[in-house]
Symmetry: C2
Amino acid sequence: METIASSSAFPPDAFAKDCASRVVLDRIGDRWTVLVVGALADGRLRFSELRTRIEGITPKVMTQTLRALERDGVLTRTVYAEVPPRVEYELTDLGRDLLVPIDAIRHWAEQHASRIVANREVYDR
Amino acid sequence: METIASSSAFPPDAFAKDCASRVVLDRIGDRWTVLVVGALADGRLRFSELRTRIEGITPKVMTQTLRALERDGVLTRTVYAEVPPRVEYELTDLGRDLLVPIDAIRHWAEQHASRIVANREVYDR
DNA sequence: AGAGACAGTATCTATTTGATACCGAGCACT
DNA sequence: AGTGCTCGGTATCAAATAGATACTGTCTCT
């Protein structure tokens, strides 16, 4: 395999290394992406609002995650030249598309969480 | 951290640290989970078959991922006492449930991959 | 002058991931 | 009897990533 398959001559195959869709999956297979995108479901939020909503994320990692998502065109970053500074993040159309499967994942997690935690306890015993 | 909130007195909230659903999300926010579960969509596979299908995963990481998913009850691991050894992995009901949102994610990735790669190129320029 | 808000950086450490080499049991072949 | 092969992993070490914590710059308000 050579070039990134952005052509549609071949069906995109996320299992193939170097396939574009695999590259994209790597973004979602990120600890924080699901949470950040999910947090922006109801509209634009500022950096600090995101930090409050998503417990446990450090500012460095928040910045990294946001920049990566901005780079991919999932969200926009708008800086207002005020003091104190105001920066708002908002999903793009692409980001709102992503929201659909991401919500599905989150719902699955919330539905089956207790069962999974129980499985772990059995396994570890 | 002491107890994971597996009670259903509170609505599960994946944004909250220490919430069970957050713990579960962390499993999905793993680089390989989506691929491994997706690979098992059509039935049981052996270790080496998984390695072939999922390009780029190393044996160590494959083992880690499979053990974690087994621990969570997403798949089963069956060892046949043969030589050479045969070990088969298969999704549980829980795993097949997970397959639904995971397929949604993969479809999203395959659909929008080229657009995202294009976005990155613009951003990096 | 000093404190505070906000959106981050800088720095250092801990944890995860990855590359690569190797192992053990048994069969098949020479 | 020795050699090589298959399969499903481990072992070991290096590299990349995530996390904890402290700090910065700008302006405004007291």
